[in-house]
């Protein structure tokens, strides 16, 4: 009788873990989107940073700490992009499962090769990321590696659904391949652009265009009037195919430059959800690439 009771209690205690969804906390919208493609109905996703926020300048709101406290797995961009708030979140969450080194601590950048890793760096160069350019979510090949990593990490945490994660990954892989063909067919190759921030380097590398100049004189440092004047000259002379920026910053400067030079200003969503049509990672990429060739 007593044994049955113990077994029953043990069953009751273990039951939620067998049927409950894996709680995924994603720092950025694109991470939540990919995790959704791999986890599907097995996961419950909370995204901390809203699409209208700049991922560089986020404050650790208490509600984020609470979400992280409840997480089974914390997925983040890495390469120091979240350095201003993630260490506080991880420590304040009081969640042993998501501490560095634990299976619930998932750094997306571990699965990619970063571009622009500086040989030496100091802050006189502006907000340069010493571990490399962190905006790799524009690179389909890298996103596929991250998705593979996610499927692996979710299978470790939730082995009973490992097959489902594998199936979802296969479906995702197929879709990325199909989409990649579509995207590669767009006439992006050989085009030249000016960009506000160092955000589109992976897009340029993967789709064969070049970024010839930046509106920011140094990453994170807004341009002075004199710098803008010089840039107008450069743009008039080199006639790039467009000036790239995002919905959240650099609009004013880019509109001004476009007006002065006649070169088209192009707004590209910086993340999933940043523009009305970019509701998942695929439509986000669709928008980004079609904006380039419009």
């Amino acid at each position: 009788m007593r044994k049955t009771a113990i077994v029953l209690i043990a069953l009751l205690l273990s039951a939620p873990s067998a049927f409950a969804k894996v709680k995924v906390v994603a720092t950025l919208p694109w991470i939540g989107s990919i995790a959704g493609k791999i986890g599907k109905e097995q996961v419950e996703i909370a995204t901390l940073v809203k699409p209208n926020q700049d991922p560089h300048l986020v404050e650790a709101r208490p509600s984020m700490i609470l979400a992280t406290r409840k997480a089974d797995i914390l997925m983040y961009n890495g390469l120091d992009l979240e350095i201003g708030y993630l260490p506080v979140l991880i420590e304040s969450s009081r969640n042993p499962g998501i501490q560095p080194g634990k299976p619930g601590n998932f750094d997306c950048s571990h699965f990619v090769t970063a571009l622009e890793k500086p040989v030496s760096v100091d802050r006189s160069m502006g907000d340069v990321h010493p571990l490399g350019n962190p905006h790799f979510h524009f690179s389909p090949a890298r996103i596929l590696s991250v998705a593979e990593g996610m499927a692996g990490a979710l299978s470790v945490l939730d082995p009973s659904h490992a097959d489902a994660y594998k199936t979802n990954l296969e479906a995702f892989r197929e879709k990325v391949r199909a989409k990649q063909k579509e995207w590669s067919a767009l006439p992006t190759k050989g085009r030249r652009f000016v960009a506000y921030h160092k955000l589109f380097e992976y897009l340029a590398a993967d789709f064969g265009f070049t970024i010839t100049a930046y509106v920011e004189p140094k990453p994170g440092i807004p341009p002075s009037a004199a710098y803008i004047e010089r840039l107008i000259g450069t743009i008039r002379e080199s006639r790039p195919n467009g000036i790239l920026t995002t919905p959240i910053y650099g609009r004013k400067e880019v509109d001004f430059l476009a007006g002065k030079t006649g070169v088209r200003g192009i707004v590209i969503p910086h993340d999933v959800g940043a523009t009305p049509g970019a509701q998942n990672w695929f439509t986000f990429m669709d928008q980004a690439l079609s904006a380039l060739v419009k």
């Binding site: 404050e59 650790a60 208490p62 609470l66 420590e91 042993p96 501490q99």
Partner: protein, 409 residues
């Protein structure tokens, strides 16, 4: 024959060159691997160094009063400690921060402000990272979780100086680092609610005094709750309480006070961040301090010294708002003492201490980057009760180098 020889030579040359080429390539690859991984007896230690940062806090100060007037400017009934700011250039401190995980269970932090007077160990504490059930333990010397400004380092303040209620009840730098232990709990609730208790040695000069009692005697309790309103608004609020024994000489010159201290606090913060470059923060803290005991005037060894009973029940509040527009931020603050309660009862008689102390402050900040802040601050100070107002001007510069410290909300 000659041709054959040449062919053989050519063939072997290509063979050598191609194998040599491969060799170089693989060697380069190995070199890349080793540099990427940092190996070796000392190379690896570079990765286990703690994170280091240094923050320099320096300012220019001008006042309408003379230096000797400033040096004797106190808040009668509250504290006899003047601010000690010099007219002209001041170097507040160069604060050294060190932090790193100790092992998979603990993180360690140290804060070492270096001033012209010497080196201090303001904080040195561990924080647990792997306790179950939402529990966390902090121990060593740390800033108490009591209130809001109290837990912040001066460089993170929204104005050059702390508000009047902090200065009157805890001192110009808040409670400061206290030795002790803290346990906080974050239960899994629909809203953010953090509960904390602390046992502290209790050495703050205004609340307890360094020799109030053998062993730990100050105990705190605090609650911090937070809710979001939409994607851009957050409210944080909660009460705090600290109680301990007092043996202090900071009420008035030539006096010592022995008794009990209770300090109650309530904090409220509202943050609105609608877009990347814009934001507004409204913050207020109410503090209410009770002290009951005996006040001795004169040297205790002197038979002519007098002993009277003293009951103090006083309060103070500040309200401040800051509006950010890209790299600029403007702020305003009003702080006042005795808003609701001003008991200073000596031997059963309420004392008339003079005018109500208050100040009004305006500040303008320019932040060229995340690591530099330039602040211009003006304060109208009517805190000395005697009707002598002070007009103060600060031009402050805050600079940080080293590891990027993450800031809490």
């Amino acid at each position: 024959m000659k041709i054959r020889c040449l062919l053989v030579l050519l063939f072997s040359a290509t063979l050598v060159s191609s194998s040599f080429g491969e060799d170089v390539e693989s060697r380069l690859k190995t070199l890349e691997d080793t540099t990427a991984k940092v190996t070796g007896l000392f190379g690896g230690s570079a990765m286990t160094n703690p994170y280091l940062s240094l923050i320099v806090n320096t300012f220019f100060y001008h006042s309408g009063l003379s230096q000797s007037e400033l040096d004797s400017r106190t808040i009668p009934g509250f504290t006899n400690v003047p601010l000690g700011t010099r007219k002209g250039f001041n170097l507040e401190s160069a604060e050294l921060f060190l932090f790193a995980p100790v092992d998979p269970y603990l993180n360690l932090y140290a804060n070492i402000p270096v001033t012209e007077e010497g080196v201090e160990l303001e904080e040195a504490y561990f924080v647990t990272s792997s306790l179950p059930a939402g529990l966390q333990v902090k121990g060593g010397k740390f800033k108490s979780g009591f209130g809001r400004i109290n837990g912040q380092h001066p460089h993170a303040w929204d104005f050059v100086d702390a508000p009047l209620n902090y200065r009157a009840f805890m001192g110009a730098e808040g409670m400061g680092g206290e030795k002790g232990i803290q346990v906080t709990w974050l239960p899994e609730l629909p809203i953010y609610l953090q509960l904390g208790i602390e046992a502290l040695q209790g050495e703050n000069d205004l609340l307890f005094g360094p020799d109030a009692k053998d062993g730990p005697h100050a105990f705190t309790f605090f609650v911090k709750a937070s809710v979001d309103f939409g994607d851009s608004s957050t409210v944080l609020f909660g009460p705090s309480y600290v109680a301990g024994k007092a043996d202090i000489s900071t009420i008035a010159d030539g006096t010592t006070f022995r008794g009990d201290t209770d300090l109650f606090g309530f904090e409220l913060v509202y943050k609105w961040k609608p877009s990347r470059g814009r934001g507004f923060v409204l913050q207020s803290e109410y503090l209410y301090r009770k002290q009951a005991g005996d006040l001795r005037t004169g040297d205790p060894a002197d038979p002519a010294s007098t002993l009277e009973s003293l009951k103090r029940a006083q309060d103070g509040i500040y309200v401040q708002g800051l509006y950010q527009m890209d790299r600029w931020r403007i702020g305003a603050r009003y702080d006042v003492l005795d808003p609701f309660k001003k008991d200073f009862i000596l031997s059963g008689t309420q004392q008339d201490l003079g005018k109500q102390p208050w100040r009004a402050t305006g500040a303008l900040e320019f932040n060229p980057s995340e690591f530099t802040r330039v602040r211009l601050q003006y304060t109208r100070d009517e805190s000395s009760r005697d009707g002598k107002a002070d007009n103060e001007l600060y031009l402050q510069m805050l600079l940080g180098i080293g590891a990027h410290a993450a800031h809490s909300f």
